[in-house]
């Protein structure tokens, strides 16, 4: 006759903590005193259904057991003996945990059925019930009380991921011109809880990097400091509690804390998005922050649609070209200022229907004469174009001050705005991607727009990470067309 043994108890710990120990089929030699040594056969993981644990009891008996079912939703593990020096035949056991919601404790139910040689039923039933199950309850209680489950296992301690990795960077020891960016050697710390360490291949260069290098926003770049807000690479390792990305994933990130000009970096996982296979590294580095900026400008702030008269400055720059091509698809009348005929040609190729070539920021007269004013102005120039922008705006126009490449914008009096019912905004893009969900949604919109041709990737000028100073000098020279990317 089949023997049936049931033992149960209540453990004074939350179910998640108890289950974390019991779901590991090879944990019993760490908490059950009767088990002296246990290992998983082959190279299988200890939570792989079908894996076999081979262990020795303190009385010298040897047992091989196979995990035949594991459920994280029911907190249930079922296993059977496949070979043993004790005469337990057809032994199948199930461990089930249930939460005691009244007090955050755990109900633990352990039962088995088995056959025995004639005459040894009672002896073996007692052995299973007392020496294995009841002793197990006592042993696990002590294990948890002593924090045995919270000590890092030997495996985790030995993992190389716990070590910092060397990281090359471009670092500023002073604020100033491009030449303050110098090669530096640092470390990328092992990822802590909620962090991801990334080996970077391509780094986006943005005008904000220039502002930080000049010392315009010291709080965002304390010295010595590494600029850079975005990069693309491969995940090396992840810290505790990180879901959604795994080592080996191609990713891009965007964060409000500078430090991207390097080749290995540890960042919060909530900055990180996975990269679709169709988007190349340098294209992603050239379009993540700039594309999301275009999305914020056109959708959230400009409400740009069919017939909107849009004036964008630096139309052949990284953001400018993306704004032109996206706005064209939305049906806008796209007017752009550029500083040369060559830039006008590229801007036109990217959807700018009406490029205006001007090196002195003179455009208001043309915009008023040909289009009756602009409904939306996207302004990265700042002070030098202040009065022209005001003159170029149509009634109820919207002025978006995105940057100040020519110098800080002098204050604008509210009474000046009322003359044409003008609205003014001064966005920081990071406020629009403050959560991982917002970042993922906007990044996806950029990748989708690139894939279906709505967005045309800008020309990319590549510099090595060691030549970050040259890249900045080029960007400030106003001679570049499209986006700049550093290759790590």
């Amino acid at each position: 006759m089949l023997q049936h043994v049931v033992r149960s108890t209540v453990i004074d710990a939350p179910i998640e903590r108890v289950w974390a120990v019991l779901r590991d089929f090879n944990s019993h030699d760490r908490w059950h005193e009767v088990v002296t040594e246990s290992r998983i056969e082959g190279d299988e993981r200890s939570d792989q259904v079908g894996c076999v644990r081979s262990f020795t009891l303190d009385d010298g008996n040897r047992i091989r057991e196979q995990l035949i079912a594991l459920s994280d939703s029911e907190h249930k593990s079922t296993y059977c003996i496949v070979e043993a020096t004790v005469p337990l035949q057809r032994y199948v056991a199930t461990v089930t945990l249930k939460p005691v919601t009244d007090g955050d404790r755990t109900f633990w139910h352990w039962e088995s059925t088995f056959a025995t040689p004639p005459g040894r039923e009672r002896e073996l039933r007692e052995m299973v019930a007392r020496d294995v199950y009841e002793a197990g309850f006592t042993n696990l209680r002590r294990h948890l009380r002593e924090g045995g489950d919270r000590r890092a296992s030997g495996l985790a301690a030995a993992m190389p991921s716990a070590l910092p990795l060397p990281s090359r960077s471009a670092i500023a020891h002073h604020y100033g011109g491009p030449e303050v960016l110098q090669p530096g050697d640092g470390e990328a710390a092992a990822p802590g809880p909620g962090e991801v360490r990334i080996r970077q291949r391509a780094i986006g260069v943005n005008y904000i990097d220039v502002y930080l290098r000049k010392g315009w926003i010291p709080a965002m770049l304390p010295l010595p400091g590494v600029p850079g807000m975005e990069a693309v690479g491969t995940v090396v390792d992840v810290g505790a509690g990180v879901s959604g990305v795994l080592p080996g994933d191609r990713v891009a990130y965007l964060g409000s804390t500078a430090g991207a000009y390097c080749n290995v970096r540890t960042v919060p996982a909530e900055w990180v998005v996975r990269l679709p296979a169709g988007v190349e590294d340098d294209v992603a580095a050239a379009t993540l922050l700039k594309g999301i900026t275009a999305d914020v400008l056109l959708r959230d702030l400009g409400h740009v649609g069919a017939g909107t008269r849009l004036l964008v400055h630096a139309a052949a720059g990284g953001v400018g070209l993306l704004v032109c091509s996206w706005a064209r698809r939305l049906g806008a009348v796209v007017i752009g200022t550029v500083s040369s005929e060559a830039k006008a040609r590229v801007a036109r190729e990217h959807g700018c229907g009406h490029p205006i070539v001007t090196s002195e920021h003179r455009f208001a007269e043309v915009v008023q004469a040909q289009f009756g004013g602009a409904d939306v102005v996207i302004d990265g120039i700042g002070d030098a174009a202040r009065d022209e922008n005001f003159a170029a705006l149509a009634r109820r126009g919207h002025w978006i001050s995105l940057g100040q490449a020519s110098g800080a914008l002098r204050p604008i009096a509210a009474d000046q705005l009322v003359q044409k019912s003008i609205t003014f905004s001064r966005p920081a893009v990071f406020d629009y991607v403050a959560t991982q969900a917002q970042l993922a949604e906007r990044a996806q919109r950029v990748w989708t727009a690139l894939a279906d041709g709505t967005l045309k990737a800008p020309p990319i000028e590549r510099h090595s990470l060691g030549a970050a100073a040259e890249a900045h000098a080029r960007l400030e020279s106003r001679r570049t067309i499209g986006a700049l990317v550093l290759i790590a």
């Binding site: 049931v6 209540v10 249930k98 939460p99 919601t101 109900f107 139910h109």
Partner: protein, 146 residues
Amino acid sequence: MIRVYTSSVIDASADTVWSRIRDFNGMPQWHPGIADSRIENGDASDRVGCIRHFHTRDGGMIRERLLALSDYDYSCVYEILESPMGVENYVATLKLTPVTDGARCFAEWSAEFDCAETRETELVETIGDRVFQGGFDALKAHFSRR
């Protein structure tokens, strides 16, 4: 489908607790939220399929049908036929399991149902805290007094 799950440990054997809660018509004797109860059609209260017709202390009338009763598992399953709660497809299970180390038992009370999305939070609280936990608290108090 919404699921509510409440569980507790009661300091008496499953047999003892079961004898107090087994009677499908006996809620007023042990649950503080129930005012009265009758079984419709003169059925026996342990006949699977019987309907209990009762009032809560706040005056609400509820009709529930016994769907399963197991003295072997110490469990009973029932559904709501009529109630002022605004729930549909409501099926609940009350079950005891012995705790072998000590004269205690593990008690589980769970329900699955559909309701308007706006009322989910309120219903989960009412059912989980007032009805289920309220019943467990009464049982715990009763068996600790002995």
